[in-house]
Symmetry: C2
Subunit: 163 residues, 2 copies
Amino acid sequence: MSYTLPEFLAHAIAMEDEAAERYLELADMMEAHRNDEVSALFRDMHRFSLMHRDAIRARVGSIELPRLKSWEFRWRTPPEMGDEDAFDYMLDAYHALGYARDNETRALQYYRSVAEESSDADVKRLAGEFATEEDEHVAALERWIERIHRPSETWAQDPAHRA
Amino acid sequence: MSYTLPEFLAHAIAMEDEAAERYLELADMMEAHRNDEVSALFRDMHRFSLMHRDAIRARVGSIELPRLKSWEFRWRTPPEMGDEDAFDYMLDAYHALGYARDNETRALQYYRSVAEESSDADVKRLAGEFATEEDEHVAALERWIERIHRPSETWAQDPAHRA
């Protein structure tokens, strides 16, 4: 975790870019499913990710950034993916929000560990700032998950739904 | 699974493109790890994926293809991904080959199910052909996994290594 500043910035940009693309897909999917409220949330998240990415790019300026491996920044594919089932599964706002939350949590954990372990002062400070931002994203998604899916008695009793 | 021909072709192209990119990453990673033999295998797989993608593109001609969601064609991220551990984990040829094999198996399953369930004769035939091709990729990766990791007595006795 001894990132140089260019390595760290490359990760941050790739992660924001990836998040932006995924939020756009989720927004389109929710729109197709006529869930305008959650679609609007995902469009906001898409815009925030782009804004954050552009802010980081502005900071990069002429620094040359390394190329990263896909698994260093890509979102996970949804769990239980396979054929049509995955699509049906992801159409559900609750699952789409949970998927986004899990991926944002990974980003949060990444930034936190960099902030804790880096020996470069700039990297340390930036990673801390970005972790705070991700923390807000995770919290926002959590609130929506709560709101969308107010568990009924029956649902809460089903062990399959206790994540 | 009632794909139209354009839908099916879009999936096939995206899957080959994704595989090509991932094989290139795996090849670079193995090269950095000085495993030239496995690196060469991944470079071959990269080239085969590109050739197959281009062959499908040639068939597409002027047909307009739909845009897909990332989870319909992307490879999974490696299991147990997190910080540096994932990189160390993936540097191991055995794990890199297993990761590729698992992703190719998903492609194989996808093509097989399309071949079985499609009502479009062209889609059915093409999906069957592509499944055969994926089957060969999976078999090739399996042979390499066998070869790279000839289990010693000790290793075979460790339950952690029985996948």
